[in-house]
């Protein structure tokens, strides 16, 4: 997997000349289901054997993000999109593959060496009820990352920084003395965003930041994220399952299925001409406000478990266009003229228009 990934890479790197801010190469992550060493030992056929089972959360993902981009990763639950976000942030260690940030490989760095990168990349989580420490005031919550990353700053300077970031996300100054539970979901997410912005990052990983919020509040938070992007020149890796949000927010979209990227394209291209059969099915399933309800594409069966991955294309069992090749050979992402890259034998062969 890694070998093929590095083979195809030079071509794409030459196409977009500037060095990407973030580069993910051949990323794989699996989680063991088998417990510790002793639990893995089994007695089989009179012999003691060691057996391990894994959840294959990510199976070879290549992505790069240019400065100023908002790359949205979409997919259904269990497709590995959150695992990608967490691995990029260094919250999980990849099983194999590499993550490069601004030209420097970061996935093998020690905690100490990672610290400067931690300041430059920040994360916003899905559930603002769980991501704020209930025993800290908002002021403390916002000061903590600044103190950690700038231990030499004076108390006054830290406070000034907090005041500034609070003003920029629309938090009233008197919120500082209060605790997380005193705020509504939308207000908490605002605080979580303020915490991420407090150390002046350049790259934000947002994992479903608005999914837990009500519609009218979603718009407020999405506006805030877009304002921050413009004012601070931020780059986003935005994880979501909501395609309407993607169409609005993202500059590029990566669609994931069962731990693999099946299509990457500029947002407008993807929504105008989705290529991959899974992308098409996903897009046809969005409930629309319009009256003319087009029949959505029904997929056969359900997402297979990531414990026993299907052979060949991970989507073949549910794909209406699958043939013998799809069942055997894993499709690679192949660049197309319109700037999209699609991992589908059918699209490559021209079987799927």
């Amino acid at each position: 997997m890694t070998a093929t990934a590095t083979l195809t890479r030079p071509a794409t790197a030459a196409a977009d000349s500037p060095r990407p801010l973030l580069e993910i190469r051949g990323l794989e992550k699996r989680f063991s289901l088998s417990g510790d060493f002793l639990e893995q030992l089994k007695f089989k056929g009179g012999k003691l054997v060691r057996e391990q089972e894994y959840v294959h959360a990510i199976n070879g993902v290549d992505l790069e993000i240019q400065r100023g981009e908002a790359l949205c990763v979409v997919g259904e639950s269990g497709c590995g999109k959150s695992t990608v976000a967490r691995t990029v942030m260094g919250l999980l260690h990849p099983t194999s593959g590499e993550i490069h940030y601004d030209g420097q490989r970061i996935d093998n760095l020690s905690t100490q060496a990672l610290m400067p990168y931690r300041r430059r990349m920040q994360m916003i989580f899905q559930n603002p009820y769980a991501s704020l420490n209930p025993r800290m005031t908002i002021q403390q919550t916002l000061e903590e990352p600044i103190r950690l990353h700038h231990p030499d700053w004076s108390r006054q300077r830290v406070r000034d920084q907090v005041d500034e970031v609070m003003a920029s996300v629309g938090i009233a100054a008197d919120w500082g003395k209060r605790y997380g539970h005193e705020f509504s979901g939308g207000q908490r997410q605002r605080i979580a965003i303020a915490r991420a912005l407090a150390v002046d990052p350049e790259f934000i990983v947002a994992d479903e930041p608005i999914s837990a919020l009500d519609v009218s509040i979603q718009a407020q938070v999405l506006n805030l994220l877009m304002d921050a992007r413009q004012e601070r020149n931020l780059t986003y890796l935005f994880i979501t399952h909501d395609l309407a949000v993607v169409e609005h927010f993202g500059t590029r979209v990566a669609v994931m299925y069962l731990g693999r990227v099946c299509e990457v394209a500029p947002t407008a291209t993807l929504f105008a001409t989705p290529r991959h059969p899974y992308t098409r099915a996903l897009m046809s399933a969005i409930p629309r406000l319009e009256d003319d309800r087009p029949q959505h594409i029904r997929l056969e069966g359900e997402v297979p478990t990531p414990v026993h991955l299907p052979s060949g294309c991970v989507f073949h069992a549910r794909c209406p266009h699958a043939n013998a090749r799809c069942r055997q050979e894993v499709p690679e992402l192949i660049a197309r003229d319109d700037g999209s890259r699609v991992a589908c034998h059918g699209v490559e062969e021209g079987r799927i228009q």
């Binding site: 609005h248 996903l282 046809s284 406000l289």
Partner: protein, 340 residues
């Protein structure tokens, strides 16, 4: 007469600091085979409305007033015994989380048979045959095998199908579905919604669909209610409300959707958030967030702050808004004067 008629329903929660009015003055009707959507954000009272229809409000909640007439019978104040003959039998419910609804220690078949035997004098074998037929109706592959499986062996989408099959077991007149697809992925959601629609049409079952997703309401229902802070603020044919929302809150809700704005531009957000029910603003509960309290000429509509708006008819819709009422009044006066 409609199959279900709800009039001036009032639901309160008796808390130590006083009663919280979770539902105020809610009225709607549902005809046989009709599909009604109840839309609102969390805390708007849409689930309370649905639960109170079958008196499933848990203490300290209670129905403080109003009437719920179903097929000529008054459900409010009915004894538990009598109500049990309607619950699950003539009106059944589908809940949000398919993981929580099914009993994890009973097989699918056992749960279905249990439900049938609770309502009918029926033998095991016969009950099993009905269960099998219902699983077939919800398009579950190899239903025979599924009957002996346990909930954890099924995926989320399959579980929700089983729950729909259970809801259909006794051929109800109405199904109340409380956010039935919120916990599911979009592709599965589309399938489940298709299934509900198909079954309701085929068996002429009424559906009360509670959701926060305007897209889902738009595709499944014929009429809808929009709720805000415990009150219905707009109701009418779904298509009319979606195409031309009258109430500023409904308009705000629609305009806040990302698909309503050009990609990359700022979204039209509604400022502020829904007030908590024990501390409602005076007058119209939406007025602190509403952009229409001030008239275009700069004067202020004081009624918004002081009086709870009454429903006014606008087309086929009914809207509770002082601004809409005022605009309708202004249109009406010149219209009456011109013929003379």
């Amino acid at each position: 007469m409609s199959l279900l008629e709800v009039n001036n329903l009032d639901v309160r929660f008796a808390l130590r600091r006083g009663d919280v009015k979770a539902l105020r003055d809610v009225s709607f009707t549902l005809d046989r085979g009709e599909r009604l959507g109840i839309v609102g954000e969390s805390g708007a009272g849409k689930s309370v409305a649905a639960f109170s229809l079958l008196n499933l409000i848990a203490k300290p909640g209670y129905i403080a007033g109003g009437s719920i007439r179903f097929d000529g019978q008054e459900l409010n104040g009915m004894s538990d015994r009598a109500l049990r003959r309607i619950r699950g039998n003539r009106i059944s419910m589908i809940f949000q989380d398919p993981m929580m609804t099914l009993n994890p220690v009973l097989s699918i078949g056992e749960q279905m048979i249990e439900c049938l035997k609770a309502h009918r004098r029926i033998g095991r074998r016969e009950a099993r045959a009905i269960a099998l037929r219902k699983l077939e109706q919800v398009h579950i592959p190899s239903p025979e095998a599924r009957l002996d499986q346990y909930p954890h062996e099924l995926s989320g989408g399959m579980r929700q199908r089983v729950i729909i099959a259970i809801a259909l077991l006794l051929d109800p007149d109405i199904i109340i579905a409380d956010e039935p697809t919120t916990a599911l992925d979009v592709t599965i959601q589309a399938e489940i919604m298709d299934l509900l629609l198909e079954l309701c049409e085929k068996h002429n079952v009424g559906l009360i669909l509670i959701t926060h997703d305007l897209g889902v309401v738009s595709q499944v229902t014929q009429r809808m209610l929009v709720m805000y802070a415990g009150r219905v603020i707009e109701q009418g044919p779904t298509r009319e409300i979606i195409n031309d929302p009258q109430h500023p809150y409904t308009q705000g809700l629609m305009n806040a959707l990302p698909q309503m704005a050009t990609p990359g531009s700022r979204l039209n957000q509604i400022p502020g958030s829904m007030p908590s029910l024990d501390n409602l603003p005076s007058g119209c509960a939406f007025h602190p967030r509403c952009g229409f309290v001030t008239r275009p000429d700069g004067s202020e509509r004081s009624a918004c702050r002081t009086r709870v708006p009454e429903f006014v008819a606008s087309g086929n819709c009914r809207v509770a808004c002082h601004m809409v009422a005022e605009m309708l009044d202004q249109e009406r006066i010149p219209a009456e004067e011109t013929p003379r």
